[in-house]
């Protein structure tokens, strides 16, 4: 590893010598070890590569690297081979010798491991041609696949810490703040507060010392943007924080990361140590008079600690509970001193803005929302994973061009944005550009970037109930309106889902929802009714079907559905009879079978095994 670097020139020299040393290696094999790929067996694939490379004596010809998330989780585990840019998906350990022999050895492409274009049916061997990647603008995520997060040298080769060097040599703190202001960067954690303004308020505040915090307490179900960056590219976050610290005049900072992200904790902790050894944290950074150090702090699992004032309380060792703003943390935060809190993605964007200029950054994106934003695209969509697109990209582009549409030929019904406190948008709003203003107008929020796609088999009342329950559990419980309000909303949703709802309750639900959002103190409470209010706004007919017809149109709410065997299709194969855990199915072999609705527990096991497709879910239409 490169030793201590004591000037910007030495940083450049380190990069040049690393680049020269690396030119000899011909092929770079990369295994994605992001969460999705590890869950699909990337660890075993990586082990197989290491063993095979050693066995075949390819160490001189091949550079092998495990990296953070590449983004295309639907293809997991993903292996890429550079410089050709070949992308293989669904790789098994058994494929490793073949890849080494044919692709690395002979330059051939193995068609069965290659992504197949859904329209043409043709194999697409190169990453840049895959529609999932082609329609993205991967400013931050692109670096993930080129870096071993354990290696600071890999980061140096990408020009790492050069933005910091530039700031320390050529720019005074005011100029840095001005650059961030000009770039139009807005906080990526959800609220979208202009980052430059936050810095400038903190800088001008007379309190000393000042603090810097990175909010990595990403708790939204189905969202892993911050995790992707922190696990895959921790030094970019550190560099951004150093620049921020220089700009506002802080000498101490914290990375507040949830303890449920053990790999992120490990990687950022290691990166901080490496940066300290390299003289990029601590006293006299890069030979300048600037001193700054970072501490990694783990959260204890409360969702509300992602709210900045609750996060500060937690950092100080108190209960993670939001408090009144003003004063804002930029005026009085950690230990009542001016504190800048930004999200992981915001910090990671900062070095790029310094390197490439505010003008470049503000040329990307929409009118009020600049730059690119990472979304975690999950749910009922073909290409699940992390995607990065310019702000202002439409939902249609995200779901269809990048996401590849809805699987199994089903209809797109809606999309849930902004995490649990976000809202659901219907298919009619598919051409809505994704930026802070447009989403707020449509009754949802940008949030930190969760995007859950839903198809016709999703019940919107059930979705609202799921998220309301999540918020009920995660509310800190301080504001009466939030604690009791979420509980009462969930109770009404329970009633509706279980066929006890009334139309009066529907009105009450809406009225209560508005009160919860208005009267609560923090961002959690003020958005706690969004799942309810947005589904009521766009999918009211579904609520009404549950209430007036006692029918769940999507066939999800178990109280309102029943399983039925269609006589004309049943051939008496007995498969359903064998699989039913409740003994609810009766019938002799080769005769029509019948489900006893009183015994049936609606687990759906019979539906899955029936070879004739004779079993269906019905809802409504009499008892």
């Amino acid at each position: 590893m490169t030793g201590r670097i004591s000037s910007p020139d030495e940083l450049k020299q380190a990069r040049t010598s690393l680049e020269q040393a690396r030119e000899s290696a011909r092929d770079i094999i990369t295994v994605c070890t992001g969460p999705g790929c590890v869950a699909s067996g990337a660890g075993e694939v990586a082990d197989a590569f290491r063993a095979q490379i050693k066995e075949q004596g390819l160490e001189d010809r091949v550079t092998f690297r495990c990296t953070g998330c590449h983004g295309f989780c639907a293809l997991a585990p993903v292996v890429t081979i550079d410089p050709a840019g070949i992308c293989y998906g669904g790789v098994k350990p058994a494929d490793v010798p073949t890849i080494l022999e044919r692709t690395v050895g002979a330059g051939e492409i193995i068609d069965r491991l290659v992504y197949t274009h859904p329209d043409t049916g043709q194999p697409v061997p190169y990453e840049k041609d895959i529609p999932f990647y082609k329609h993205q603008d991967r400013l931050l995520l692109e670096e993930n696949r080129r870096i071993d997060p354990e290696s600071i040298d890999d980061f140096f080769v990408l020009g790492g810490y050069e933005a910091l060097a530039r700031v320390l040599t050529d720019m005074d703190p005011e100029a840095v703040v001005q650059e961030i202001l000009d770039s139009g960067l807005r906080g990526r954690g959800g609220a979208g507060f202009p980052t430059g303004r936050k810095w400038s308020i903190c800088r001008q505040n007379p309190g000393e010392p000042k603090y810097i915090v990175c909010n990595a307490d990403e708790g939204d179900p189905g969202a892993f943007m911050d995790r992707g960056i922190l696990e895959g590219n921790p030094h970019r976050v550190i560099e951004g924080m150093c620049i921020g610290a220089y700009a506002i005049g802080a000498s101490e900072g914290f990375v507040y990361v949830r303890h449920e992200y053990p790999i992120a904790v490990r990687n950022i902790t290691r990166a901080v140590e490496q940066a300290r050894e390299a003289g990029l944290l601590g006293e006299g950074i890069l030979g300048s008079g600037f001193a700054f150090d970072l501490k990694v702090v783990m959260g204890a699992g409360a969702f509300v600690c992602g709210e900045e004032t609750a996060l500060i309380a937690s950092l100080e060792g108190r209960t993670g509970e939001p408090k009144q703003r003003p004063p804002f943390p930029a005026q009085s935060g950690y230990r009542n001193k001016p504190t800048v809190i930004n999200n992981v993605e915001t910090w990671a964007s900062v070095p790029h803005i310094i390197t490439r200029g505010a003008g470049w950054f503000s040329s990307i994106g929409s009118e009020g929302s600049k730059g690119t934003k990472i979304f975690s695209l999950v749910g009922k969509v073909e290409n699940t994973g992390l995607v990065e697109v310019p702000m202002g990209t439409t939902i249609r582009q995200l779901v269809y061009d990048i996401g590849g549409g809805i699987p199994n030929g089903k209809e797109f019904k809606g999309i849930q944005t902004g995490g649990p406190a976000g809202g659901c948008l219907p298919a009619e709003l598919m051409d809505l550009p994704i930026d802070f203003e447009a989403l707020a107008e449509a009754g949802t929020i940008m949030g930190s970037g969760g995007m859950i796609v839903m198809d016709e088999s999703t019940c919107m009342v059930d979705i609202a109930r799921y998220f309301t329950r999540f918020l009920e559990q995660e509310s800190c419980g301080k504001c009466y309106s939030c604690r009791k309000g979420t509980q009462r909303m969930r109770e009404i949703l329970d009633d509706i889902c279980e066929g006890r709802g009334t139309l009066e309750q529907l009105e009450l639900l809406e009225e209560l929802g508005h009160t919860v959002n208005e009267a609560s103190m923090c961002g959690l409470g003020q958005n706690a009714a969004n799942p309810v209010l947005s589904t009521l706004r766009y999918f009211r007919d579904e609520y009404e079907a549950h209430i007036t017809e006692r029918r769940c149109p999507a066939g999800v709410c178990t109280t309102l559905i029943r399983y039925q065997i269609q006589e004309s299709l049943c051939d008496g194969c007995h498969a359903c009879f064998k699989v039913c855990p409740a003994d609810a199915i009766s019938g002799e072999k080769d005769a029509v079978h019948v489900i006893d609705p009183d015994v049936c527990i609606k687990c759906g096991a019979c539906l899955e095994v029936c070879p004739q497709g004779a079993i269906s879910v019905v809802s409504g239409g009499g008892e």
Binding site: A302, V304, T319, K323, Q324, P326, E472, Q473, E474, S475, C476, G477, K478, C479, Y480, S481, R483, K484, G485, T486, Q487, R488, E491, E504, Q505, L508, E511, L512, H514, T515, E518, A519, S520, M521
Partner: protein, 241 residues
């Protein structure tokens, strides 16, 4: 050192207060009655009950904040009794009355704000988690024997590790301050979730003018009429042209 003064408007009335004054304190100073349950003089503000919410900001761009925790700002426009606020307060009181119907304080507040419906399932909780006892114990009794534990539905007030506290001196300060410990009157319909409303007052003027027209305690009360018998707007006694 001179203390800076701040100018703001309360329900359209220009007022001046010292810097650092909360909206609730300012309103009290100028005789405007904002209801609250978790704010008591001598204890720090906490902002738990949300009854003291007010609307701030220029028309069309207002936001709702709790007046007990929000500091007055220069040029601020505050509306303490807008239709929006009254509606939200009534909803919060309805939530309270359904969950802690045995509390006299809650019943009186509900009654005074014209809460006549109890549309949620009745619970019989004996704590509103307003935190008055926690602050009393810490700030006035200097004991810190009790505190909050858990979050969301599991939140409750207890001694450390639920053990008998060594610090507690059994002063009873917590019980004295508790709004839920005072039982409601055991009048003719004490069994119902909601009181029969001996104090019932409904500001019909807010429906006409978008702001309640009287906020001096005790509110004028002349517009109190049985339901369905409100005076027409033109003949409203508070606004005779």
């Amino acid at each position: 050192m001179s203390v800076k003064t701040i100018s703001l408007t309360l329900n359209g009335l220009p007022v001046e207060v010292y810097e650092g004054t909360t909206i609730l304190e300012a309103a009290k100073l100028y005789g405007i009655n904002i209801p609250t349950l978790c704010s008591v003089e001598g204890l720090s503000s906490y902002g738990a009950c949300r009854l003291c919410i007010v609307e701030i900001g220029p028309p069309g761009k207002t936001k709702v904040v709790s007046s007990c925790t929000y500091p007055c700002e220069e040029g601020m426009q505050v509306r303490t009794h807008s239709a929006r606020i009254i509606k939200a307060r009534k909803m919060i009181l309805e939530l309270m009355v359904c969950s802690t119907p045995a509390s006299k304080v809650v019943q009186d507040l509900a009654s005074a704000h014209g809460v006549t419906t109890a549309r949620f399932r009745r619970e019989n909780e004996d704590c509103l988690l307003c935190g008055l006892c926690v602050r009393m114990c810490e700030e006035q009794m200097m004991a810190r024997a009790i505190g909050f534990v858990g979050r969301g539905p599991d939140r409750r007030i207890t001694t450390a590790f639920d053990e008998l506290s060594d610090i507690c001196r059994h002063c009873g300060g917590c019980m004295y301050i508790c709004p839920a410990c005072q039982l409601r009157c055991q009048g003719p319909s004490a069994e119902t979730t909601i009181c029969s409303g001996c104090l019932n007052f409904s500001p019909s003027c807010a429906e006409v003018y978008d702001d309640q027209q009287c906020w001096m305690p005790p509110e004028c009360g002349t517009c109190v009429r049985p339901e369905g018998d409100y005076l027409p707007a033109t003949g409203h006694i508070c606004r005779e042209e």
